[in-house]
Symmetry: D2
Subunit: 356 residues, 4 copies
């Protein structure tokens, strides 16, 4: 008899529901994880609104931690019952792009993103993890689930934005957008030794969190063009790294303008609209400014996860101020609706699953 | 009594002439070089057409070699009479951008470009070189002027395009545009160990030179969209590095399309038109493809020049097949006109100066 | 009934023989390759002499190409009958060190080296390949086996030595030792754009090959201390990269001496003796010279192999002048003996296997 | 009439005194700084004991801040009376090694170190600075001298040790030696995002400071071999970066042992003894472990200094807990004697100069 479970699914564009599904089975290299805690991500909303096209009965979610439930026959070094975290991105690590050093592009552009895209996601009582040896990271005993779950996407993506910025120790950084990823980019910039992080944000609560996560200055883009103020704060020079954490063309353009010659524009925002994203020609030095534009997608894998968990363990980073709401899995639809409407000042809702 | 010399100058937009000017004087850190050979660059045409605004009595040119004529009081390690090459870009190496590692952006964006921009250029019987210790490179005895002069811009710029491409040994490269810079980008890609260089070019003579400089395949963009053919030649994967050596938005867009996820778009073309240069959103992986867009401006300085001269000395590179025409300095106006009209299949005209 | 095959094995220290063994079976992620051509490596001799301790009935060899004979149940994207090359190093790509970017250190220091070390090698009619998707590289139709087989170790190791040297385009390199790996390091240095490669070698035939592979100068270390001559050839400065391709402490010391400040010592030689390898303190700038000492072990994987095969396809590198001898597999003991004694000017013996 | 000043000089090996000397004169590119605060460095003791040979009437010191007193005729962008910090290392930025990107090796190995080596140092009422535009960094108004002075050497050197370690975000680091440079290496490792820093130190007060600067664990090497404990603290793997901040061969050997495969040994200690510094062969993976050994010498220049001053301004780093003693310049001999004897728990004595 097949075991069943509850899962939070997308059922066509604009529709979500909780459904009963079979608990997934592991192939030889896979694992099944019983979920204990999860977060909901803005990109789950994008998906339901149709960003990746129609989907039926697709389990949502990609930010979950849990306990190993079953292991495939070829999996070594892990054990049933172990607490584990899994990144939103689960590469195979054997294909061409993985071997080239770009596992987030596994098997094809953005192909490392499998959960709630090409397979069921993690907002379910159980979820399937391919290539378990590479993708499951044990959670240290002294790191509670509600912290560990931030390693799945928010920390990895936000820190990547900072790492891609190639920030010199003591350098200057502007982070455009202080949503969850932007806030983690601020924290990440400081973890790379930035001497000044300027947050560009207009929502007062996010401005406040930006300062709490270490921004030394906040510029309100609703009050006018933020670039002159960024230049003023950097002695007229512009920043060493400008991080786009919003996914808007206007913001991307401002990043190119705010970066100094030789600086880096690190894009982490999802650009969802239009055929093109424009580079301002003169601010780009007619294509000769030594400015570099980098991009990336949430780095995954057990080593990355282990490093992020270590930062939670040492207390160097505490993302939990972003946890504005808490729900049981039974209330996931309420949580999703709040997140979808960005209501009630929600940043990240934590979903708690019942005992297995 | 002031020494005088002949110089080829721009006299307002669209006007050039040969004029008599005083031989320049060196400050404490400077040198005066007596010119022996020069090349004319397409960017001289752009300048005369108004690309950097109006100029009066501005000596043109930035690709010249010669002999040290005078040295400033603080200059050490060089001697009058020495054969020297000077890069098109002459940074101070003491300002903020220079110290940050971006000397081509000396004192401000693109500020390392001083010749025929903010000071007189090198198409004159004598020219002034700031920061001589850093900017003058002795020419080895066995490298004739007519080879050495290619180090001033063509080799340095074209090779930079390849270096910025971060080409893995055995990797694949597409070079868009097989003008002089594109041809040197092809040579540069092979010098970095590319396993396959695809030239995208439509002019038969340039296609032929592309093959001669090592392109393993040539795609004619006039025959249709070149990107599908690039994909075909790379097993459907796209190239590790796509080099824009033309300075056209359509070409830049094709570079983003042709680069594989995790690949690099290395821009070396001068983008002279429009307020924006567009990135194709989906080919850019909605800003998450791990594709990197890099830019730069001809790297200068005596160390760079010394390395390029060494490659000429060993014979690993021979750019002289690009020398399609030869003139005495007395004929410089004829040479410039040919270059300006891109007539007679001209690629690079070599200008010979009389004995001093 | 179990299929059997002939294999060339080590049977205790100092003893080799040809034995009959079962053809290996593939696990779910594995492949069995039928061997067509192989090379013998000096490290096979080291192994037989006891470098890694005693072994019984261990098949030797790690440089073989062949045809896919069987595939494990989870292997996708490959097919039986396909011509394939396999690197000497076959990482799992899923363990911690693999995910950290150091697959040659798979599961532990030097742990990517499995063939003829912790499992049977490839000098047999059939051999087993773990993690086949990641480790098998299709051989292009126009690359014959006798070329492709050089990608397994010689090219990958020698080129790595050059890549680790961080050679600037036009830079200077000294390669100490012009055996097969050293010769490929010379070729690799030129593939990275070295302006001058100095080979340090005393055997006339190897000196000659060094020149053939592109060395611009040869220094005979038997004629006296080679470092002053290297300094002379580089204008007193020393080289940008000094490559140790011999595995001798005296040579390593000379590499540190020959490298300029800020230069790189790239070690690729196997150091088999003593408890320590010494760095000369003053030449190392009392530990402050910006000199970097790098090491590595033959990079493997299908992407690496694919790039090397592409260089063979384009003809940019032709290692076959190193093939001094050819044998059928039936003569493998003769070949091994010659190699072991370094007799008859042997560099690399090619072993041909009969039709399957 | 020549202006005179007091200077703290070395007068032969083992002898120091305060002398009257002429105030130095600036050449065209130079500046004269009036000293306001200084620190004494252990390397001043080494110098007096003969580490760089005999010297007569050589002013000691290389960690000073002050006020611009005079400027050379070619110096732009600075003004008399401005508060400035000068790094211990003052490269020319125009010579070959500077242009290659290794300014600390200016003109030759370790040649960027000019103060109290090849010219008078900074423990005087006035001192001379070559290449003032590149070497003088304005001190922000809100950074007091007693903090700024730590940027001259301690922060720059210690942070370099961490930067050279190539620490991944969340990675593990061992710092051997928690003297002033080691303490700044600990702070630097955390500024690069280390997840765990292990200090190896035996002196209780230094152990305490190590924890205060962020070490998550302290290992006492006097209590036995520290490497097994480092392995235990890193789950048996060893550290991503091992920093040698002591300058002892035994410590260097332990660094190689403690670094995991693919890890980095970052040497910052001055190795003053013996002809050789030994690498343990097997822990080095017989030269194939992907372990990298890096070195360096205090990075200088106004950009570096500006970044370090920014970190002091933002309060991300506060090195002043290392200021164990304070003296007026009139007491410099007492201060030096304490420092020389490492008496009274001294770490760094701050020297205050009288008003100009």
């Amino acid at each position: 008899m097949t075991e069943t479970m509850r899962a939070f699914v997308m059922d066509g564009i604009g529709h979500v529901s909780v459904r009963t599904k079979p608990v997934p089975e592991p192939g030889p290299n896979d694992a099944i994880v019983r979920t204990t805690h999860a977060l909901i991500c803005t990109s789950d909303s994008h998906t339901v609104r149709g960003a990746i096209g129609p989907r039926t009965n697709l389990t949502l979610g990609h930010e979950s931690v849990g306990v190993v439930h079953r292991l495939g026959s070829s999996v070594e070094g892990l054990r049933v019952g172990q607490r584990v975290a899994v990144n939103a991105i689960t590469p195979c690590y054997h294909c061409t792009n993985c071997l080239r050093g770009f596992p987030s592009q596994c098997s094809g552009m953005l192909g490392g993103w499998k959960f709630a895209n090409v397979k069921d996601g993690t907002l379910a009582e159980y979820f399937h993890v391919n290539d378990a040896v590479a993708n499951l990271a044990p959670i240290p005993d002294d790191v509670p689930d509600e912290r560990a779950v931030y390693a799945c996407d928010m920390m990895s993506t936000g820190f990547m934005a900072a790492e891609n910025g190639d920030i010199p120790i003591g350098g200057t950084v502007a982070v455009f957008g202080a949503g969850p990823v932007g806030l983690m980019a601020i924290a990440g910039a400081l973890l790379r030794g930035a001497g000044l992080v300027i947050a560009v944000e207009t929502v007062p609560r996010r401005q406040e969190l930006a300062r709490q996560f270490g921004a030394g200055a906040v510029v309100d883009f609703a009050a006018g063009d933020p670039v002159p103020e960024i230049l003023r704060l950097t002695g007229g020079e512009g920043v060493d790294a400008a991080i786009e954490a919003l996914g808007a063309e206007a913001t991307f353009i401002n990043c190119v303008r705010a970066a100094r010659p030789g600086g880096t524009i690190s894009n982490v925002g999802y650009h969802g609209e239009g055929d093109y994203v424009r580079i301002p020609r003169l601010d780009w030095g007619v294509g000769m400014s030594d400015k570099t534009i980098r991009t990336g997608l949430c780095p995954g894998g057990r080593v990355r996860m282990g490093r992020l968990l270590r930062l939670l363990q040492s207390g160097q980073v505490d993302p939990t101020p972003m946890t504005t709401h808490r729900f049981d899995f039974g209330e996931v639809e309420v949580a999703f609706d709040l997140m979808d409407r960005k209501a009630d000042g929600i940043l990240k809702p934590l979903i708690r699953f019942g005992p297995g």
